[in-house]
Each structure stands twice: as structure tokens, then as C-alpha cells.
């Protein structure tokens, strides 16, 4: 087995095993809910990771797609009585279209400008969610009908496997994108747009494609979040959501494959363990974000992968050879 394959699929196997047995280890609906939220935010983080970690395009407006996906999902079920898979598909398609329409003009911008423009877009979505009361239910939001699949009501445990399945699918898609031409082109775009276009990479097309893909990841995460919370409200598109996303991405590790999972687990579980911490949440996320950026810029996932890479990337034992030769020469 080649080192790349091993590096991609070893974490996948571990995550798959953890995910599959987790419901037996957890007690009660509350712990199950926490587990589901971890998968939800891992999906959200993977989308962001593709966009910023791989392609270097910083969007601070991913929470808009998170909310649009969730609202579309709820509205399609409420007004058109669509089934769960169709509503899920509807939410993803709507987000992809919005991502395309917003992405085409916005991705002409770079760096700070892109970040701010996407944040502006999210603020407008947030405003609409808050104030268009007839359509979005205002502050109280919308209720999502009890989930059912092919006529059968989904129990909590079924819902868990649905959300986990979505996360596993998202991971595979992430690995797939990274290994294709698209992924390599995006890494080139991240390093140097001018150089990338000089070797025939259509920079705009690739940037828009990955923006749409990230919007779809956010949509899936939003929909899963709505399913778990049994409703959707304007906080989905709030500024708190993007702080969560940034914290989990930085703590987990930008550009790392397993980063989003580790980051999501920490961001979701940490406030639960330290009881009565809700008041301090904004403060602690901020401090955590800053401390990680300064002292562990690769994040936990990135650091693990880096230390593991020694054993993957060193088929000829060059590193150990070097170490030996250094030990021999006085």
C-alpha cells in the first residue's frame, strides 16, 4: 500500500470505527446529541478546510450557506411536504446555485477583500432570516418535521447513523477532491495565482468550483444541524457560527485531513465538560483561537499528521540514515 493511500484511508478507517461503535459507548440522548453535533461540525469544517486550507480562499460567510441549506430544507418540507431525501437534495442544490451566483463576482476579490465581502453577504442573510418573519419565522425560526425515511419514522439512533453517514461521505469526497486534478490545481492557486494561470490553470473556474463545493458542504452541515436540533433559527447564520467554524478549523488544523474531526470534537465537547461555561464561551473560543494560532499553528490534526509522516514518507529510511551518519561523525 502506497504511503498516500495509507495516509488517506488509515484515519478514515479509525473514524469509521469510532463512529460506528460510538452509540454503544454513549449513554442517553444528550450524549448522542453531542456526538451528532460533532459530526455536523466536522462536515462544516471539512468544507471550510477545502476552501481555505487547500485553496487559500478565506470566506467568512460559510455560515450563510449553513443557514440557507437548513432553511431551504425546513421550508421545502413545510410548504411542499417533500420527503427527507428530496428536501436534503433541494437544500444542497439551492446552496450550490447561491454559491455560484455569489461566488462569480466575489471571487474576483482576494485575501481581506474576499473575507469581508463574504462576511457582508452572511450578514445580509442573517438580517433576512431575522426580519422576514412571514417566511423564516423571525427570531423563533422554523420547526423541522420529525424525520422519516421511506415512510418509517427515524429514531434517534437512526438519525445518528444518518448524520454519521453524511460525515463519512463528506470525508471521502474531501479525499477524492484533494487527489484529483482539481485539488492539485487549487494548491497551485493557493501558492501563486499568477504562476498557476501561467501553466494553464483556469484560476477563476477552479476558485468558483471549490466555493460551490464548500457551500454544498455547509448546506449538508446546516441540514444535519437542523435535523438534530429539530428546527432552524437565525443563530445559524450568526457571527457566533463563523467564530465556531474558525476555532474548530484552526484548533483541528487547516489543511489537515483529520483536523475538522478533532476540532469539531473539541469545540462541541469542551463547553459541555466545563459546566456553567456558557457565559464564558465567546471569550474562551477567542482565547483558544489565538493561543493555537500563536503556539500550534498547524493545529492538533496537522501536528499529528506531521509527526506520523516521518514513518510514512521515509520509505528508504533516509531520515534514520541521516541520523545514524550524524551520530557516527564526531
Amino acid at each position: 500500500m502506497s504511503s498516500t493511500t495509507l495516509r488517506n484511508w488509515l484515519p478514515a478507517t479509525v473514524i469509521l470505527m469510532i463512529g460506528a461503535v460510538l452509540p454503544w459507548l454513549l449513554q442517553g440522548n444528550f450524549q448522542l446529541r453531542i456526538a451528532m453535533l460533532t459530526w455536523v461540525f466536522a462536515i462544516f469544517g471539512m468544507g471550510f478546510n477545502l476552501l481555505y486550507g487547500i485553496a487559500g480562499q478565506l470566506s467568512l460567510g460559510q455560515q450563510a450557506f449553513f443557514a440557507i441549506g437548513a432553511y431551504t430544507f425546513a421550508l421545502l418540507q413545510i410548504h411542499f411536504a417533500l420527503s427527507l431525501p428530496l428536501a436534503l437534495l433541494g437544500g444542497i442544490v439551492v446552496c450550490a446555485v447561491v454559491g455560484l451566483v455569489i461566488g462569480l463576482p466575489v471571487l474576483r476579490l482576494r485575501t481581506h477583500y474576499l473575507a469581508m465581502a463574504t462576511l457582508m453577504f452572511a450578514m445580509i442573510v442573517h438580517d433576512v432570516a431575522l426580519r422576514w418573519t412571514d417566511f423564516t419565522g423571525g427570531t423563533s425560526g422554523l420547526r423541522v418535521p420529525p424525520p422519516s425515511l421511506f415512510g418509517a419514522r427515524l429514531e434517534r439512533i437512526d438519525l445518528y447513523y444518518l448524520v454519521f453517514g453524511l460525515a463519512a461521505a463528506a470525508y471521502c469526497l474531501q479525499i477524492f477532491i484533494k487527489s484529483t486534478h482539481l485539488g492539485r490545481a487549487l494548491e497551485a492557486v493557493k501558492t501563486d495565482e499568477t504562476a498557476a494561470s501561467s501553466v494553464g490553470i483556469d484560476v477563476t473556474r477552479y476558485k468558483v468550483s471549490i466555493f460551490v463545493v464548500a457551500a454544498m458542504f455547509a448546506a449538508v452541515a446546516g441540514i444535519a444541524y437542523a435535523l438534530v436540533s429539530r428546527g432552524v433559527d437565525p443563530s445559524y447564520s450568526g457571527i457566533g457560527m463563523v467564530v465556531n467554524l474558525l476555532t474548530l478549523s484552526v484548533v483541528g488544523g487547516l489543511g489537515s485531513r483529520i483536523g475538522p474531526f478533532i476540532g469539531a470534537a473539541i469545540v462541541i465537547i469542551a463547553p459541555q465538560i466545563l459546566a456553567g461555561l456558557q457565559e464564558y464561551q465567546t471569550l474562551i473560543y477567542g482565547v483558544g483561537l489565538l493561543v493555537f494560532m500563536i503556539f500550534l499553528p498547524r493545529g492538533i490534526g496537522g501536528s499529528i499528521e506531521r509527526s506520523a509522516e516521518g514513518s510514512f514518507d521515509d520509505p528508504k529510511g533516509e531520515k534514520s540514515a541521516r541520523r545514524i551518519s550524524r551520530a557516527e561523525t564526531p
Binding site: 478565506l58 463576482p105 457582508m120 438580517d127 457565559e279 474562551i284 477567542g286 500563536i294
Partner: protein
Amino acid sequence: MQTFGILILSGLTNGSVYALVGLSLAMTYGASRVINFAQGEFVMLGALSTVLFVTTFSLPMVVGIPMVLIVCATVGFLVERLAYRPLVRRGSQPLTIMIGTLACASIMTGTALLIWGPNQLFVPNAFSLEGVTIAGITSTPQQLAIIATFAFLMALIWFMLYRTTFGLTIRAVGIDPAVATLMGIRAETIIAFSFVFSAIVGGLTGGLVGPLLGGHVSMGIMLTIKGFMAVILGGMGSPFAAAAGGIAIGLLEATVAFYGNSFYAEPIIFGLILMMLIIRPTGLLGEWEANRK
């Protein structure tokens, strides 16, 4: 004619606030090439610490406002020393540093939430809120003070940047910190100054606009975004272009709010900015600035 005057006046008031935020964003950006996401939080801090000093400690305004400015300057200094500088020293990308300032914004909001709680607070006014009618247009001294402060700060910054040696060093650091350092300029000190100066401008803005907007812990991020809209419209190249953008946004908002619904103002401005970006992809300021990292 009279409605027109009122529109202009209210547009100018809000526009001055956006312009002040935009201007301080451009000041920090000019020296450090980083968007300071915590800029709007300084306005929040200014408004809420006015509440602390003037209402809670019942200090007179003349003592309270300098205290507010000292608090903001200290926090501005801390943001530079604890977030910006360590990140730059370890060679982080500008975008990473920007996320670092967003973390600072989050820390400031979180701390303010612990001190002042989640409710909107009444911010004491330095100037009278009673209506004054000049040439058929009613205004308040507080409103006029905001516009006057904005005009004064613009003049001050212009003088500082373009008529003093110190201003020249600020601009030099903005163009290339490494070369500026070779010329004997202490680039890190200049950048620290730009952070502290912007924080003071933010605090002053907060103290002045607080009575009109009401003090709230989450008011900062919206102002940062408005300031940045100003910067995109006008141009990041100079603080004055950013200020012009702020005034334009204020006037546009007032007009849309008057003839339609204030709800549509933001989407319309956003649409305008998007349209502008399609026509001029690098923004009104031209290629040079937007392509810089």
C-alpha cells in the same frame, strides 16, 4: 428642500461614524497590511466604558472621556502586543493575522459580555440631545459633535501623515517595513502606534455615537463591516478615500431608509459593491492596492 436637509444631516451623522471606523481600519492597514477585525469593538468599548465611568462611577464627562480613551489605548496596545506581534514574528500570513484580530474581537466581546451583560445600555451624552433648529433643519448638538469630530480628525490625520516627518515614517512602513527599518525607522513601534491610534479613534467614536445608537456588546462587528464597506467603496490606499466611502454609505442608507425601508439599505449597498466589483474587479482603488498581500 427641508426633507433633503434632514436626509443629508442624518446621512452625514451615520456616515461620519462609518467613515471614522473606515479611516481607522485604513490607518492600521496602511502601516501593518492587516485588517484589524477588532476595530468596531473599540467603538463598543468606547461606548460601554463611557457607561462605566460616567454612569456607574458618576465621574464628570471631562474626566470620563479621557479615561475611556486611556482604556481603549491600553486595549489597542494589548491587541498589537499579544496578537499582532507574536503572529508576525512567527511569520504568519496576513490572513492568519486577520483571523487573529478576529479572535481579539471575540475576546473583547466575551469580556464585555461578562462586565456589562447582554442588554442594551443607555450611554450618557457629552453634548445636549435637545433639538436645535438651524435654517429649518432640526439637529442635536450631539449629532453635530460627531460630524465635527470626524472633520477634525480628518484634518489631524492629514496633517500628521503628509506634513510631519513622523507621518512620512508611517507611510514608509506601509510601503515596505523591511526597507523602512534599513532607513532607521522602528517599524514595530510605528505599527504599535497605528494600533493604539486607531483604538483611540474608535473609543472616541464610541463615546460620541453611544447616546444615539445605545451601547450593546455586539455592536462592534456590524461597525467593523460597515467600516470595511466604506473602505472597499472608497479605497484602502488612503484613510481619506475610506472616509469618503463611509460618508457615501451613510448618505445612501439615509436615502434608502427615507424612500423605502431601512431593511433594504444593506442589501442595496451590498449589491452596489458587488456590481462595482464586477465592473472594477480590484475595487475603486485600482489594482495596486488589492493585489498586495
